[in-house]
Assembly symmetry: C2
Homo-oligomer: 108 residues x 2
DNA sequence: TCAACACTGAAGCATTTACTTAACTATTGC
DNA sequence: GCAATAGTTAAGTAAATGCTTCAGTGTTGA
């Protein structure tokens, strides 16, 4: 579910925008309402809602509305999926370098 | 240098495109020329070069030209920087959850 | 020397993105 | 009830993105 390429696509796309990363950063310190998320951002509330929708569609953020306030929180599983994608590629590269080093050492 | 927000911006932007992630994936298995990178992709060589320029500007990929072939490789430091950004936010969230759990347990 | 090769760069174009404003809905507190 | 609050939705727009084609440049091997 989380490793499906389409979802990964949405996640990396979501993280590509600085405003959305700032929102994720804010949420990493605890849940927040839409207005709280908007407060440090130099844009209309409407724009923030649109960013939030992108984040929610990507699975990085989960929200629930109680009364008139929508409370947002991070979905750590999704963050972990993105992290994992990068990590695997980096490790593959580094393992390759290690093997290469071993090979060169042996052929001394 | 690597934690500067502008660079982080370029990296996440670069990773947002599926073709570019495919290129990074390919490079994680070892260096490749531009044509080798292009081979599995359903687009012109020119388009691949443009993607490659984005990857290089982001610092995720380093290239060097020898004769007429440009050889590309991953820059693991840059991958690590992106990984680190995500990891820090996720950990902040999870630590917060832990503290909350402790608090609830104590107030029993 | 010259044709094939491996790119490179510029121009153009369709689509997507990141906003804006404005009009609207649903809650809440008094 | 009614005004303020909190968010939503739609429409429009300017800029960015992801391609394309085409016309190059420099390199290599026969």
């Amino acid at each position: 579910m989380l490793h499906d390429p389409a979802q990964l696509d949405l996640m990396f796309q979501a993280l590509a925008d600085p405003a959305r990363r700032q929102m994720v950063d804010r949420l990493s310190r605890g849940p927040a309402s839409v207005s709280q998320l908007a407060e440090p951002l130099a844009m209309s509330l409407s724009a923030v809602v649109q960013h939030l929708n992108v984040l929610e569609a990507s699975g990085l953020v989960r929200t629930q509305k109680v009364g008139r306030v929508r409370t947002c929180q991070i979905e750590p599983k999704a963050l972990r999926a993105a992290e994992h994608w990068i990590n695997e590629r980096r490790l593959a590269w580094e393992r390759r370098l290690d093997r290469l080093g071993d090979f060169l050492a042996e052929s001394e």
